[in-house]
């Protein structure tokens, strides 16, 4: 025999449970457009049944249910998809950064434009052809000087733009590191909160876990992290074997800038017979440390930035500066062997300022810039031979002379670099496009599982509403019964 008010108690529990479930639905509907959110669901279960004693047996008249309760609220999420997204995100970050920044380098070179280096180089050769046609003309010599200055200025500007851009990428890396550490702090703190909440029975920190997953996803785009979940539902994050997050505590990722030297041999005196001298570059290179231990970064946006920075070194040292040095060597070697309008010889056409053998310090010899008559167009020491433009012609013919740089021509060398960069960009673009499609699909899959469907929620809502109404009816009936019992009997 149940207690007098037992029925009301069951009705009350039912009301509370339906109401609680309805709140979960309301929460779902409210977050329908929240990207971080995964839909939640109230798991209902019966409360402990009661076994009533009876006449013949202290137990055994059958169990009578005592009602319903919300056991726990769970979020619906497939951790495996998250793991996949995090993994693919690293490559997406890396290739997107590469694509964007290589594009920037391409626009610094801007080869297809009339103002591109390729075109300026051609105009330089062309001016020497014209000089052969008109070696006496001072006006034409002035044009040659101007075209040459345009060429050297362009080299200077490209070099400056490359170096600046590299510096800019450096500060971007430092910015990313700040962001990484900020994310680490937040994730560690969420770890701690989640552990505290979930240590209570049947409690799930669903919203906090959503927030944490969102932050981890952001982090995975920047560095190649590995994520493990422990028994307290805390995530441990490591970077190539080194712990970044261990429960509620985190280790800061630190970027260290070191100066690295790159040495190349240069022909400093434009004489192929004398020995080359070493010329040294200083470049700032980033390494990453956690707790004083060096840690490699092998994917993600930071890796992309590092790679582009390395690429710029390659472009400067092995492409641009190499071209400038070879150009100077070859032109000067010929120019020094020729004679100017005064019959003077052994003058350099190009020079490097301040003893730096790079594109930034590439200049037309100031003596020639101020007096174009000093261009050694002639092969004759007699100043009367002003119609002799053979040396100018020899310089102009460097354009198609094989073996002036590596085993090829200046023009081919530079064109090859330009196409290589173009192909690199095409590849980065394809890679990042592929990653994007892949991730889009994964996210769509996640949406399929975790996304809120309004129709579904409305159906749930109707269900709980009816459940609530019915429970209320039960209480009303109970109330009538008690009314009969209490008021009717006492009359």
């Amino acid at each position: 025999m149940g207690s007098t008010f037992g029925g009301i108690e069951i009705g009350k529990k039912a009301l509370q449970t339906q109401q609680k479930s309805l709140s979960v639905t309301a929460h779902n509907i409210a977050n329908a457009n929240n990207d971080k959110y995964s839909r939640q669901w109230a798991i209902q279960s019966t409360t402990t049944p009661y076994t009533y004693p009876s006449i013949y047996s202290t137990t055994g008249a059958g169990q009578v249910g005592t009602g319903v309760k919300v056991e726990r609220i769970e979020r619906i999420r497939d951790q495996f998809i998250d793991t996949r997204i995090r993994y693919e995100n690293q490559a997406l970050g890396e290739w997107t950064v590469k694509k964007d920044n290589l594009r920037e380098i391409e626009s610094i070179f801007n080869e297809l434009d009339d103002g591109g280096l390729f075109n300026t180089l051609n105009e330089f050769w062309e001016s020497f052809q014209e000089l052969n046609n008109n070696p006496e003309s001072l006006a034409l010599r002035e044009t040659v000087v101007q075209k040459s200055i345009t060429l050297t200025t362009q080299f200077n500007n490209i070099d400056k733009a490359l170096v600046n851009f590299r510096e800019h990428l450096g500060s971007e890396i430092e910015g990313k590191i700040v962001e990484v550490n900020d994310l680490l702090t937040k994730i560690a703190s969420l770890n701690h909160q989640i552990k505290v909440i979930e240590s209570g029975m049947n409690k799930k920190a669903n919203d906090l876990a959503d927030e944490r997953d969102y932050l981890i996803e952001k982090l995975s785009k920047m560095v190649d992290i590995q994520v493990r979940v422990d028994s307290y539902n805390q995530v441990n994050i490591s970077l190539n074997g080194i712990n970044l997050i261990d429960g509620g505590s985190y280790n800061e990722l630190v970027a260290v800038k070191n100066i690295e030297n790159i040495s190349v041999n240069v022909d400093h005196d434009d004489n192929p017979l004398t020995a080359d001298v070493p010329y040294q570059y200083d470049f700032a290179i980033f390494t990453f440390k956690v707790n004083g231990n060096t840690v490699p970064v092998e994917s993600g946006e930071i890796k992309g930035l590092i790679d582009v920075r390395d690429k710029i070194i390659d472009y400067k040292v092995n492409k641009l500066d190499k071209l400038v040095r070879s150009l100077k060597n070859e032109v000067n070697y010929l120019h020094q062997g020729g004679y100017d309008l005064y019959g003077n010889t052994n003058l350099k056409f190009f020079e490097f300022e301040a003893g730096e053998y790079d594109a930034a310090h590439f200049k037309v010899n100031s003596a020639i810039a101020s007096d174009p008559a000093k261009i050694a167009a002639s092969t004759s020491p007699d100043p009367d031979d002003s119609g002799n433009g053979e040396n100018a012609l020899a310089i102009a013919d460097l354009r198609y002379k094989q073996g002036t740089i590596d085993t090829t021509t200046f023009n081919d060398f530079w064109q090859t670099q330009a196409s290589k960069l173009g192909i690199d960009i095409e590849r980065a673009e394809r890679m990042s496009d592929n990653q994007e499609v892949l991730i889009e699909q994964l996210k769509q899959k996640r949406e399929e599982i975790s996304g809120v469907s309004l129709d579904e929620e409305l159906t749930e809502m109707i269900k709980y509403q009816h459940g609530y109404n019915a429970a209320a009816k039960v209480i009303a009936s109970m109330n009538e019964m008690l009314d009969t019992l209490v008021n009717g009997l006492l009359r």
Binding site: L102, N122, N132, D384, A418, K443, E447, G451
Partner: protein, 302 residues
Amino acid sequence: MTRITNNIIINDFMKNYRESSRRLNKYMNQLSNGAKFSQISDNAIDAAKSLKLETTIKFNNQYADNAETGIRWLAITDQALDDVVKTLRRIRDIAVKGANGTWTNNERAKMQEEVEQIKKHLIEIGNSKYGDRYIFNGTKTKIKPYKDGNTINPADYLDSGTISQAQIKREIFEGSIVEINISGKDVGNGGFSQIFADLKELSNSLATGDIPGINNSISKIDQHIEKTLAARARVGARQQRLELVKTRLETQEVEYSKILSNTKDVDIPETIMKLKNEENVYRAALAVGARIIMPSLINFLK
């Protein structure tokens, strides 16, 4: 069963819409700037090809220019040599006249005067210029080659003591070089100065009525004419070579420009078709977009 949530529909729509507008933008860019690519990375292979073709065309033009200036220089040389031959023939006529029959001193003086005048004309030809450059003094284009020496010694006619025989060169293709000048020393039999000296000799013979001397001069003039004609033939041959090169370079330019255009320029009808097609897709995408905010269950609940 696949769950389709509202956001899945919206995400898919957004993705398709973005892709469609990206393609639309690509075609519009191609049509508005006329090129298939604006950066090398848009199409690395074709872009590299177009860079190469542009260089070829640029230097073909330069070589055609070089040939053209060479042709003009040679034309002036040719004219001068033609003038030399005509003038020498005129002198030969006078000499033949002077060697025949008897003439009074007065008449011979007139002939001598004419020879002197013609000699002055020839000196002027020897000092011919292309623009401000002397054409018969090798590479010493700013140095006047000849003066009126008034003796029978050729060296006295040289304004600066020597005549340069250095060659002026034009490059008409990679590594292919043509000399465009004839030195004054190669005109006539032993150069302009020899012609002048021989004319002075003739002039002297005419003054004194030295018939054997005049006859001797006639044979010398004949040799001068012959050698000048030979020099003229050389000039003509070079002119012809340059003309041929120029024509070839110009034909090549047309060909290369055609290839460049095929490589670089958009096929406008084709691109417009693609653009139109894409426009339809875009419109359809938008129309679908307007429908995907579908009536949900909410519309049916009171």
